[in-house]
């Protein structure tokens, strides 16, 4: 992503977002901007607030204070239809969360049919196009239990894409996968990035993040400690916390 006009549209903006679960303060004043057609990577230790941050962007979790803007609309203002917002934001979870009682095709077409009112035939046609593109067409009538973790996660991505979202959020989508299945899922994410989709990915895959992200934010204890291009953040981190984290990642052989 290096076109000149990309910087103009701020698709997502978080201002001073706080979020607690009971006494546990998870987000302590997060500011984050995601421009259209860019990829933002969120890195940081477990429990730093990456997942919660993503869940606050599509209002799966209401924020305690601060504001969230998507496409210039403030979601945190009163009277916003959360269901309407979620239609425009796709999210993929660590644990896939496919609907086990529905076939792959029905998993994908449920939301387009019920939320957007697409006719069954048209929804299935669109789903089949996506399944074919990601090499899963032969699984259309299978149930989730029959698929490998990598296949399930790719279906979860397709299910989110079927709603034609403006932005996709990835919440550690490879963390629950066997190592040999990580590649096929990352390939899909990489393809979406190449197509110019706006992506926000919370990830432990540092190498992948460095490759695919335009911006990387390092989260620690509910705050964004440091933010920058991957080239800058991964090779010349400024903040001691970031340096410490990356050193540990490198020691673990993950970068």
């Amino acid at each position: 992503m290096s076109s000149a006009e990309q910087g103009d549209l701020q698709l997502i903006e978080l201002r001073d977002v706080f979020k607690s679960f009971g006494k546990n303060q998870v987000l302590k004043g997060v500011d984050l901007t995601v421009r259209a057609h860019t990829v933002v990577g969120l890195i940081g230790p477990s429990g730093s607030g990456k997942s919660t941050l993503l869940r606050c962007i599509n209002l799966l979790e209401p924020v305690d204070s601060g504001s969230v803007f998507v496409g210039g609309v403030e979601l945190t203002a009163g009277g916003v239809d959360a269901d309407d917002v979620r239609k425009r934001i796709g999210i993929v979870f660590q644990s896939f969360n496919l609907f086990p009682h529905l076939s792959i095709l029905d998993n994908i077409t449920l939301a387009p049919r019920r939320v957007r009112g697409v006719a069954r035939g048209a929804a299935e046609e669109a789903a089949n196009v996506l399944l074919e593109r990601f090499g899963l067409l032969d699984k259309a009538s299978s149930f989730p239990d029959r698929l490998s973790g990598g296949q399930q996660q790719r279906v979860a991505i397709i299910r989110a894409l079927a709603m034609e979202p403006e932005v996709m959020l990835f919440d550690e989508v490879t963390s629950a996968l066997d190592p040999e299945l990580v590649g096929e899922v990352l390939a899909v994410v990489r393809e979406l990035a190449a197509l110019g989709m706006t992506l926000v990915l919370a990830t432990h895959e540092m190498g992948f993040c460095r490759d695919v992200a335009d911006q990387v934010a390092f989260l620690k204890d509910g705050r964004i400690v440091e933010q920058g291009t991957p080239a800058k953040l991964f090779t010349d981190p400024q903040h001691p916390e970031t340096q410490h984290f990356l050193r540990r990642v490198i020691e673990a052989g993950r970068l």
Binding site: F93, L98, L110, R116
Partner: protein, 269 residues
């Protein structure tokens, strides 16, 4: 031939022979024990009379048609009411508090009162209000009592089924833009129903049984007809006829539950 039977050097048919011999022996002892009791011949005449069975069975069967009508209607109504109550109890938000409160009180009260008491209260009480036909019929209000009682159980079964579905399923459904009600309808409840088939079958069997309690209101259902036969002919074999009719419904119902569960497992595996 399995490895284990080879190792022990025992032919496979031997287990079957042992099982058959042992079964015959156990039942022989039980039957001998019962038939050698001092009152056996009298008992046999008054409870197991072939003559009275042939005489009473058609009458009891005629009565059983009423039981069937009542439990079929009760099945449908208690499923609907149970699901409504379960869903009401799951809706969050302060505005829904009074509805949740009503649902909780309903469940607590109608599960706690013995069903025969409810049948008395409704079956004798409501027709006493002087309603027009057919609403002065005790059978209708006895059925209502059975429904209210069993729906309270069914509601709890549904509620535990809904709660057993992991919250991530709700997150996934909502993140796709489904409303809370749509998520319940298309994602949560269909999965919950699959999980609660065995306990639901239990409640259905209880509904079938409780139709016999309607005999206390006077209508000529199966048990009432058996009672009448017994008191006019001084023979209890009619109760055996009633027993067999209830078993003819409840045992297939239990097998139906097993079949449904097995089918779901095959489908999603």
């Amino acid at each position: 031939m399995t490895g284990r039977s080879n190792r022990r050097d025992v032919p496979a048919w031997r287990g079957g022979v042992i099982a058959a011999t042992s079964t015959v022996a156990v039942f022989a002892v039980i039957i001998f024990g019962i038939t050698s009791t001092p009152g056996w011949s009298k008992f046999h005449e008054s409870f197991l009379s072939g003559f009275h069975f042939r005489k009473s069975f058609p009458l009891v069967l005629k009565g059983f048609a009423l039981n069937v009508r009542v439990f079929v209607v009760a099945f449908v109504l208690c499923l609907i009411l149970g699901m409504i109550v379960a869903v009401i109890r799951m809706i969050p938000g302060p505005a829904f508090f009074p509805f949740r409160l009503i649902a909780v009180i309903y469940t607590d009260v109608f599960r706690a009162v013995p069903s025969i008491v409810l049948i008395y209260l409704f079956g004798f009480g409501v027709p006493g209000l002087g309603l027009d036909r057919p609403w002065n019929n005790p059978v209708i209000w006895g059925t209502v009592a059975i429904v209210l009682n069993s729906a309270a159980y069914v509601a709890e079964v549904f509620r535990s089924g809904i709660r057993s579905i992991h919250p991530s399923q709700m997150s996934a459904a909502r993140s796709l833009g489904l409303t809370r009600v749509q998520a319940l309808r298309f994602v949560i409840v269909p999965q919950a129903i699959r999980r609660v088939i065995p306990p639901l079958i239990n409640d259905f069997i209880a509904v079938v049984q409780s139709t016999a309690l309607l005999s206390t209101l006077g209508p000529l259902e199966a048990l009432r007809r058996a009672q009448n036969y017994a008191s006019f002919r001084f023979n209890f074999t009619a109760y055996l006829a009633a027993t067999l009719l209830f078993l003819a419904v409840t045992i297939p119902l239990a097998r139906l539950g097993d079949t449904l569960v097995a089918r779901q497992e095959r489908k999603s595996r």
